[in-house]
Symmetry: C2
């Protein structure tokens, strides 16, 4: 076998293991409790088999040669991404990894126990151990002079570090805080009609309409229900996503599904030539999130979207939505109010939640972290950023699964996703009349634009490069600040 | 590592692959069509990885030593079963296997195409090729003087060959044919009330009652829907089964679920010490089927079962079932009538369907098979055994997936299952008052008896040995003939 054949056979095998691990994850959501322990032991064995293959050092020289060639740019990119990943994981020490896995399992178990009890004091020592084990694990990967948190940020969003994020968040924060201050003095929007009793079964019966409108097809995807909506792109022809019906919020399941369908389209529209390769995914977390945020906010929260869909929703809920216009409906959807829980935040306050996590993560990975007292920092920041008093740790620092599960450095990509979305949206609206298409139910042209300019690239191009090509310029947060300023100025007549 | 440790590590790894393949199968039922091709390519890679491990010849001497020791009978049995399996598959030639897989895929595709068209002439050549490839594949496994079909029968039911089956079927046939002749002259049972319109949603809402009554718990199992009901025992704590609602048969989903729950209990009640080993399954297909047939026929088709459940079903269908007594209901459930399709056959005619398949399989694997004309044999046998004219191949020889999928030698175990069930049922009724328990809804004592006498053994004991211990004597078909004669003599007042 030549280099290319060896590489392809090896990558294909890895894909088969990765596929099986995905099935483990999908099925685990549905599996009965008594089978859990055995299931996990089986997943561990399979993961360790996969680990062996992924760390087969005999493939290293092959990857190096293919990364250095210039004849086949797709193959080059595949080899480079695999090589980077392999080098990183080869630098990890086995004893550090085992210690980390042990501490991680303890942290998850403790969080599941102490979150409902709102008991930060009992949980905090587990987080302390976890951060320590994570630092030890990642330390060998650090380059000369590099800060650990910068490494973690880069893992989730290539090319981003604290310097770049600090500048980004400063612009976002200035804009959001100023708008919120102005809004505080204005009449608030009444959204009470959204919060009447909307039986889940009726909402469920309406969902096929939204799926159809968003071009989502049973031919290549499935929807089910779960507590926390999420999308699992098994492969381009098989995308699973979940939704959650809230009986006192008629828009929740719709907007959350529109968000997940944004992710789903990304998985579905990656170049089929990349199937089974490392390119068959988004280049970065922020880029993936940009597609869901674009769908949720720039499509799903627009008047044009509801000009088409509201009359249909009114057929299901004639009494509850009597006399509501698309304009009124849309105003209510975009109402802003500072709240404690990130996942329920509106578009304007959302990035402030992210900034709080970002600031706390910087502390967590500083030279001398005081993890046990982070709850006080959390509460103080919620006061400062959002003007709220946090009543307890359950709705405060314990609300999120990211830290207990060691997803450090991930949060900031949520804010980036919104900013990328605003920039893509601005570019798209230069090319096509998005509002007309939404009003007329011709969304296929929107998804065709997203495919051509963003999604089909998979991980072949960097996120920066995709933005540059799609938008004709580098990334800039001003697209978000301009969009959000215009939107809220109009909404609240500032 | 010593022998035991090597064996256990090897078997555990195999279990992890087998688990992943099970997940592939479970998930495949639900996955969208566009992902199918890639999914299959991933399953093939994983299966071939598993094949490599399963055929690692360096483990052979370990298996031989452990099979020969006498200190640990459980370990001995595990090693022996694995050794047999390995020897069998090592004797297979790679080129024969590849040819077989190719021909099998073609056969399945052709059957899916020609069954709806009722086109036997076009399908038959594929079956001919398949039988030929299968013969070539299995030939190296034959012992001196052994006939191929005897080998296939033994694969599915250890210790059974054509001599034993011929004798068995002779007794069954004599009994069934004689009863059917007598019944033909009597007044037929009116079961038309079962075939009114029973909306699937209402049936679905009643199903939790049946699950509860049968002791099935969400803690260790899940029910879903599929065209052909089946049970997948993922592991003792995780059993999946499916059902199918028929809107013009109120009993179909209930009895089919009671059947599948019989399988489910078997999977759930195997000794937990066997989890992850080759012992964590039924010793034979007939034994597994005996537990589902016992539940379906000896429990689900009994008056006592309906004395408890009919009043509850009448709450859901008060008009449709007005004035029906448990006795009337049960009589209707047990009505017998010769029909063309095996899966819809009643308890009395069912074994005749099986005998037809058995006789045809014997021809198929004879020295000089005339496969192209088997449809004529089929039609003639349906006339002879069941007095029916077969209108076309779709409801005739093409009705079953077993042959196109190369499940040769499997059919007879369906009839054995019924006969084993009758013998277990007779033994159980000596120990506990099954009818009282059914009437009072105390089914847990029934499943405890089945666990103690049949299910907890897994594949540690042979099927013959399990019957001997549970029933105090060797297997005999007279338990079925006596049971069925008594039942139908009473039902039709013969």
């Amino acid at each position: 076998m030549n280099d290319t054949e060896r590489f392809e056979a090896w990558e294909k095998k890895l894909s088969a293991y990765s596929y099986a691990m995905t099935l483990h994850g999908l099925d685990g959501n549905n599996a009965p409790v008594q089978g859990r322990k055995y299931r996990e032991s089986m997943a561990v064995i399979l993961a360790s088999e996969m680990f062996e293959i992924e760390h087969d050092e005999t493939i290293l020289p092959v990857l190096e040669r293919l990364s250095a060639q210039d004849d086949d740019p797709v193959l080059k990119q595949r080899a480079q991404l695999r090589l980077n990943r392999m080098k990183q994981s080869l630098s990890v020490r086995k004893e550090d990894y085992e210690q980390y896995r042990k501490v991680l399992a303890e942290s998850i178990e403790a969080w599941l126990k102490y979150k409902p009890a709102a008991d930060w004091k009992s949980y905090a020592p587990y987080l302390q151990d976890l951060v320590q084990a994570y630092r030890a694990l990642q330390k060998p990967r650090l380059q000369e002079g590099q800060k650990l948190y910068d490494l973690l940020l880069d893992d989730h969003e290539k090319g981003w570090d604290t310097v770049r994020y600090d500048a980004f968040f400063k612009e976002i924060r200035t804009c959001a805080v100023s708008l919120l201050e102005q809004i505080r003095t204005k009449d608030q929007i009444d959204d009470s009609f959204l919060h009447q009793y909307y039986p889940a079964d009726k909402q469920r019966a309406f969902m096929p309409q939204i799926l159809k409108y968003m071009g989502f097809s049973e031919e290549w995807g499935r929807i089910s229900e779960s507590e926390h909506p999420l999308t699992t792109p098994v492969t381009a022809g098989d995308i699973r996503f979940t939704t959650k019906y809230r009986e006192h919020d008629v828009s929740a399941a719709i907007l959350s599904s529109v968000h997940e369908i944004g992710h789903a389209w990304f998985g579905h529209q990656i170049d089929p030539a990349y199937e089974g390769t490392i390119l068959a995914r988004a280049m970065s977390a922020g880029l993936h999130e940009s597609q869901s945020r674009l769908c949720e906010n720039h499509l799903g929260r627009s008047t044009a979207f509801w000009q088409y869909n509201l009359p249909l929703l009114q057929e299901v809920f004639p009494a509850e939505l009597a006399g509501i216009t698309p304009e009124t409906f849309c105003r209510a959807l975009n109402r802003t109010e500072a709240t404690l829980v990130r996942t329920q935040a509106d578009e304007l306050t959302y990035p402030l939640h992210i900034m709080i996590r970002y600031e706390i993560e910087k502390m967590m990975f500083s030279d001398d972290p005081d993890i046990l007292h982070l709850d006080e920092v959390w509460n103080q920041m919620y006061h400062e950023y959002l003007g709220l008093e946090v009543p307890d740790a359950q709705s405060g620092i314990l609300q999120d699964m990211h830290w207990p599960y060691a997803y450090f450095g991930y949060f900031p990509t949520y804010a980036l996703g919104s900013a990328f979305a605003a920039q893509f949206n601005a570019a798209m609206r230069k090319d096509i009349n998005v509002d007309d298409l939404l009003r007329e139910g011709r969304t296929e042209e929107i998804f065709a634009w997203l495919k051509e300019h963003v999604q089909h690239w998979g991980a072949f191009l960097s996120t920066d490069e995709i933005i540059r090509r799609a938008c004709g310029e580098d990334f800039s947060p001003r697209f978000w600040t301009e969009y959000i300023t215009k939107k809220y100025t109009e909404l609240y007549r500032l």
